[in-house]
Amino acid sequence: MVRQRQTTAIAYTALFLACAYARPACAAAPTDNTCVLCHSALPEPLNVPVEAMKHDIHAEKGLTCVDCHGGDATAMDETAMSPEKGFRRPARAEIPAFCGRCHADGAYMRHFNPRLPTDQLAQYWTSIHGQRLQQGDQKVATCVNCHGAHGILPPDRAESRVFPANVPATCGGCHSRADYMAAYGIPTDQEERYKHSVHGELLFVQRDFSAPACNDCHGNHGAFPPGVTSIAEVCGMCHVNNAALFVKSPHHQAFRERGLPECATCHSNHDIHRTSDEMLGGADGTVCRRCHESGSVGYNAAVTMRAAIDQLKAGLERTDATLARARRMGMEVTEEEYAVREQVRPQLIKARTQTHLSDPGQVVEVVTAGVNAAAASEASAQATLAEAQARRRNLLIPLALIALLIILLRLKLRQLERNG
């Protein structure tokens, strides 16, 4: 704060001096935007907005400094920034309303982008940031913390701070700083965990922008951690079947009673890793054993489901191995490989999804269908192997014939040459 006042004082002095001594140059272009003219001559941080506005969506739409800040862009002296001329530089708590002057006005925004929502301000007040701001917390995020103040770009541009791949870093700008977040008592490792999660890998490495970033689960302007009872709904936006089955399972009620965070209980929230079958079952280290004691109903269900899935996996591996052997022997097995890919593998995926219902019977049913399909493919693969081996055996017939003929021809040759 103090530094800010010092800067302002220096700035005004510099401004006065600059305009006093540079008056002829300034007077040379009286109709130009004096905000830009003067601010570009000033030291940092006062010249930063000028550079930033060169790549700004508002500037592209033809809006200038006075459209937000008010004031007089033709005046060469301090009256350019006088409150009488309408100049305002919002305090932190005033920022949402400041931006909302336009962005919450549907009729006004229609002029620029009829499709752009205008509920951001209303959403913001429901968010944790908005609520705390109203209570006087000056550290929470306002519009400019995420979007910037000058140099604002729409989220579909790769340089934008709210471009999907940049969102985690933007949120992490506060949420990853332990010193800044110390007073709030929430973790500051979410961004780091997210980077190593499967969603982070999809977003940062595969550049799959449909992968969820912070805003997809927590909300954009109405950002609020999903409450314990709504996690399944949030994950279920993409993972439809898993969520639907979970909600019908006994875990749903049980977790709610214990205040456990639904999907995140087993899968974690930020560092969600690719699932593996190791998570399921009765062994130590599975998620089931965290709650279910050995011998309990839940334990037995977990063991049964894991065994069924392992059985299907084993069948699949057997068939894959047989097909690989056949291929190595030179047989064409694309048909069989297609059947495995389209009929057996999906059953394995379905079985793993089905575990969310926690009903072993259902899992076994799905697994049985898969095992049968795998058996059919295995039989087909074995037939191809048998054919490959038959070819090698049958080769002996022509080879024997050739050997016989060679012997006979040599004998004939000897006979003919002996007789001259």
């Binding site: 799959d208 936006m237 993409c238 389209e342 014939l401 016989l404 003929l405 006979l408």
Partner: protein, 151 residues
């Protein structure tokens, strides 16, 4: 003298060798012509029509239903619209290559992996899929519904 006897024996050996040789040659020719004949006989399987396939019988699908069929080495999906019209697309989801299915309740093509939705023109309308499904042409020939690759 034994030379006459030897001559007879050698003639006999010669004839034996000639017979064996002729037999061997005939056997060899047989061993060549057998596979050739089998090769030339029209095989039981149907020859591949690479760019078209019969996906279903005309009466097989009711309106507002779909069927996944095999098209080359990838799955395709045949959809009969509520209006009775036929549409066909690649069933490989453009997001992470799961096989899509038809949802009669939504009248959409749906991917169960991450809740991707495609409308009945194949366009990706909701969820992660970044691109539309590749569309195929459908021709009804007699009582067969034939799907043909475009282009």
């Amino acid at each position: 003298m034994g030379s006459r006897g030897e001559e007879v024996k050698s003639i006999g050996r010669r004839r034996l060798l000639d017979v064996l040789l002729s037999g061997g040659v005939i056997a060899f020719l047989g061993a060549v012509f057998y596979p050739v004949t089998r090769y030339l006989t029209p095989p039981p399987g149907r020859e591949p029509a690479a760019s078209s396939v019969t996906a279903a019988g005309v009466g097989e699908l009711k309106p507002n239903s779909g069927k996944v069929f095999r098209f080359g080495s990838k799955p395709g999906i045949l959809v009969r619209l509520p209006s009775g019209e036929w549409r066909a697309f690649s069933a490989v989801c453009t997001h992470l290559q799961c096989t899509v299915q038809y949802r009669a309740d939504l009248e959409r093509i749906w991917c169960p992996c991450h809740n991707g939705h495609f409308d009945l023109t194949g366009k990706n309308v909701s969820g992660p899929p970044p691109k539309p499904l590749e569309a195929f042409d459908v021709v009804v020939k007699g009582d067969e519904v034939v799907v043909v690759r475009r282009g």
